[in-house]
Symmetry: C2
């Protein structure tokens, strides 16, 4: 800590928050989202301490100051939000305020038996005089004059009238503008807040394979066939469309249908085996179209309010141009041949992993950065990163920072289904969003504990969970051969427990056939073209549309961490509420977790937190089923039949 | 992070512990006390990671390495202890181990359908060969030869025999001595552990006023009268004797008996009003003796195994030499006169506080340091610091560091009865021990919660609570007009809940008369000489002796944080156990918190934690009352009658 007079610290400022790993990493928020800055601030003795928070956007010069307010046990806080993306530095300053200390002591003296206040009045005069000089020096002539006038009155005052004089309207504010901060203490290192785009925390993703866009398995679709898919995604209320890799697919060791080792003639292969004679990570699979087609589609999407997220999968097929051009980037056997990927005893002959710590690592890293920047230049704003946990964390930290120098609004979603420490670290070093364990959290207790861990603990500051009920890799057990009710339930949970959710297409058609004994899809699109009626009877597209509509129209559902659970007597139901800071929008969600049986329960609302009062009735409007209920007091009865109405998304009407 | 090859990090090392405020302050231990160092360590992919902890005493060069062991969720730990006082730096290193990765993959390959292992054997040869070269380069010819021999066998081995070959005795250890660490990652900043003297955590303090040593109120005692007190303290088993200030006492505005504003002729004044014409903080009150007498007493104490703790109270009477010599160090009124201490409307005309941020602050700080060093030079090893929270934290941080440059074993006890944040910060910046809220924690719940906060949370690493049932300033309500049982109960709690405790003399005589309506003593020694029979009938000296004897003979009671509570069905009882890391000493304490009524309860022992097994009987020996009980299983019955036996201090006999 330090102060302008180069004196030892006068005040202690400690335990700053939010700090991610003690300040090694910034805390994340999005534009307009509130962040509460806190610190323990105290000093020796009885002086009145004043503390402020100064913030500035990184690279700018002037600090904007906001007062900190003292709470319990020397904890001081201020809550603020930022209107623009960027890194913000926050510095805390605190000092013993001579005027407030004098006034406070003066008041307490009046409670004793002191008769003569000449000394104290004179001390006040000296303090005011210094303030007037500072005001004059700050070219605030009016303030200087006002303080001088105050001094004149003080000198003539009866001591018992002094507090009233100083607490008159505007006086404390006047003096607060001209404090003596020569001995102020400043926090050592700034708190850094990374303010990102709203889309970073509020996104609804729809994933589809463009090669299957038409739903006709006899024909490879291309970008020019994708408009109906975009229209459907838009109609269902999504704001991000995500494509698996769109690059040329390797031919050597190409995988066949259902991941068989040998492809048959005409098998299209896995788009994650990237690269062939047509090019690598900068190229487009010719059957999908050209770069021009892709850029056209990006623009078509954007005109519908949709962003297209691109898959960034750093792995090469044996046919990838890098293999010939840069054999030094790959792992080698003792005989010099290039190693394919393995997780013994499993072998992945269709993929060559890159050696990020090879002697030529710098060239490799720069090449990969240039790939991302190439697509940024083409207009891509969002990257879904495949298996980031199989590449060095230091690589991602560097790459994301470099990309953000070019465009700070680029979003990276980490597809890391792995152990917690790695998933958390990827969030800390810069990934905007992360896939989560939501897919496997089923019971009310599991869901409550997981969402609480994400939104109430330290992860809240660096990890944004994107909840997916399915992915092309995962058809979880609870959706296998399941009814549309189960699909509605899991979609509703994903779309409301987190402000970012996503689904892999086919979900809206309740596709539910697994590879036997696995959590994978039968006849997965990963390895073949897929026949589909995108308007198959029994689809839940209207339900998905209402879900996203509720999200898009209610800012409470657009915020990530503003969630608290509501007690239900029946644990087959889960209930929670979300809100906006200003209380203008409040949503109660109740979900029947049992897709087969009607479940009923009393639920116990926290009336005060919901902005409701005891005794008065209030209305809640179901945003999915367009019904309104009149509720009263904290305990209310809910009945959810999965066949007709598995969820309530209730808007609290407080008018 | 960094590595010798100046490459990006290959491994992630994060969430290091213990770190006090993210590493701003060292974590504290004492000589021989264990500290568990932990970190999240992981890397991308499937490599086998090896991690070590390197430690060195600050200022020395070579790191000594200890392996870290992986536990749940990528958490790695090692527990160590240090044999000498000093600051120790700990650095964590981790790398992907080529040999272990190869061996692990080899084993997994054998579970698959692979036939040809020539490539893998050749890879093993290359890895072993590199290790042999490193061994030879490290002048470990025998290891190099052993690795070469191993290579020869490997080349001739059937693949299925390779694991057995490598897991043969000594082979893993041999290769672990010569790993390839060129791409290792090292933690950014060291964890620092401040290892202090055993006395820093294990101390039993006996406070008395030397001017009252003889117990004859008609005569001012001096240092030469103190030997019987030292003998008594020694006999009761204390290891620290603490004196209130021994300096000349101010005469201007001297306080009279029971803190009256005007002293009468012959009133001795408060020793905390320091300084008169005979000198200030370097001088000794003439009625106590001379410096020579003091040094003689220090030596007499030390020959009995006692340290004398000195009071360091930075405040001056109006007669203190500083007032004339350095008026610039004091606060002034507008008329230039020096300000006495105030906490309006209270006035303390007998004390002038110093202005630590005056223009001449550097001279003032250095003078105060030189006062401490003066007494260190005379042989004082322990300072009890009066009201440190009314002086700047930055001052103490500087002063303690400076003193420790001269003698790192000097102990500072913070007498800060104030809000938690300040008390905690004083521990962080260097105070060895701190007074606590123990004095006011009465119920089983209050005591459990408080001790848990001190020993199980983050405070464990920087705050050592010294538990005092009374002080010259505090006769708590529960001891006012109380029976000897109450005194025994509070002493037993203090002496066993913490490894440091202290009592202010008179406690052993059960002195229990308060100033009416206050938590202070009637006719307090702070303001007058005091008449006492040090062997007054009904004293609890034998009980205190047994208490300290139990502490002195049982290392489990000498450690600070090794405490866990035991469930009692009756909440009028509190029970807990303490242990040594090696399990060689285990103590169970049960205290009846009700000084008036016999209380009985089943208590529920954690058998496994106590090193006991189900089914077998075991003996517990009461160290106070010299009785042995045979217990069995976890639930055992305890009956404590405050009139005869308010506590059990039970040694578990596991022979």
């Amino acid at each position: 800590m330090a102060n302008s007079a180069n004196r030892p610290d006068t005040v202690v400022i400690s335990n700053l928050s939010p700090l991610v790993e003690g300040g090694k990493f910034p805390a994340k928020r999005v534009v307009g989202e509130s962040v509460t800055i806190g610190a323990d601030i105290f000093k020796d003795g009885h002086d009145q301490v004043v503390a402020t928070l100064g913030w500035r956007k990184e690279g700018t010069k002037d600090l904007e100051e906001v007062p900190l307010v003292a709470g319990h046990n020397d904890r001081w806080e201020a809550t603020l939000s930022f209107p623009e993306t960027g890194f913000y530095e926050i510095v805390i300053s605190a000092w013993a305020d001579d005027f407030l200390t004098w006034l406070h002591d003066f008041e307490r003296r009046l409670t004793g038996d002191q008769d003569d206040f000449n000394t104290e009045i004179e001390e006040g005069r000296v303090i005011l005089n210094s303030a007037a000089i500072r005001a004059a020096g700050g070219r605030a002539g009016a303030d200087a004059q006002a303080i001088e006038d105050l001094t004149t009155i003080l000198m003539k005052s009866d001591p018992k009238d002094v507090p009233a004089l100083m607490y008159a309207p505007g006086i404390l504010e006047l003096l607060a503008r001209w404090p003596d901060r020569r001995l102020e203490t400043r926090s050592d290192e700034p708190i850094v807040i990374n303010v990102e785009t709203k889309l970073s925390a509020f996104s609804a993703w729809y994933e589809f394979f463009p090669r299957c866009a038409t739903g006709d398995a006899s024909k490879h679709s291309g970008f020019r066939d994708c408009l109906p898919r975009l229209d459907d995604a838009k109609e269902m209320g999504f704001n991000v469309v995500y494509f698996p890799p769109i690059h040329p697919i390797g031919e050597a060791h190409r995988k066949g249908k259902n991941n068989t080792v040998t492809a048959l003639e005409g098998d299209v292969g896995s788009p994650w085996a990237i690269g062939n004679k047509n090019g690598g990570h900068r190229a487009i699979e010719p059957q999908l179209g050209t770069i021009k087609d892709f850029v056209w589609l990006l623009e078509e999407a954007r005109s519908r309010g949709l962003e297209i997220a691109m898959d960034f999968a750093i792995q090469c097929s044996p046919d990838h141009p890098y293999v010939e051009e840069h054999p030094e980037w790959f792992y080698r056997r003792p005989d010099g041949s290039i190693k394919y990927a393995e997780n013994p005893p499993k072998k992945y002959q269709d993929i060559y992993p890159l050696d990020f710590h090879c002697d030529e690592w710098e060239l490799l890293w720069k090449e990969l950065l240039s790939v991302v920047l190439y697509w940024v230049d083409k207009g891509v704003k969002i990257f879904r990163v495949d298996n980031p946990h199989t590449k060095p964390v230091s690589f991602w930290e560097w790459l994301i920072a470099e990309v953000h120098l070019v465009d700070p609004d680029i979003i990276f979603l980490a597809e890391a289904f792995t152990r917690p420490a790695m998933m958390q670290m990827l969030g800390k070093i810069g990934f905007t969003q992360s896939y989560t364990y939501f897919t496997w959290r089923e019971t009310a207790t599991e869901l409550r504990e997981y969402v609480t861990e994400l939104t109430k603990g330290e992860m809240r500051d660096y990890f944004r969970g994107n909840f997916w009920p399915n992915t092309p890799d995962i058809l979880p057990h609870h959706l296998q051969h399941a009814t549309p009710s189960a699909f509605k339930i899991r979609a509703a949970l994903a779309a409301t427990l987190s402000s970012s959710w996503g689904m892999y297409s086919g979900y809206e058609l309740c596709e539910n056939h697994p590879l036997p004994g696995r959590e994978e899809y039968l006849d997965s699109e990963k390895y073949q073209l897929y026949q589909r009626d995108w308007n198959k009877p029994g689809n839940i597209k209207p339900f998905i549309k209402r879900l996203n509509e509720a999200r898009n129209q209610n800012p409470a559902l657009a915020e990530y961490a503003n969630i608290d659970f509501i007690h239900c007597d029946n644990d087959q139901l889960i209930a929670f509420h979300k809100w906006t800071d200003d209380g203008s929008n409040r949503i109660i969600v109740v979900v029947n977790l049992d897709p087969k049986t009607k479940q009923e329960s009393n639920i116990h609302l926290p009336l005060e937190a919901l902005g409701l009062s005891h005794g008065a009735a209030f209305e809640v409007e179901d945003l999915i089923y367009r019904e309104t209920y009149t509720w009263r007091e904290s305990t209310n009865f809910v009945s959810l039949d999965p066949r007709t109405k598995p969820v309530h998304i209730l808007k609290v009407k407080t008018s």
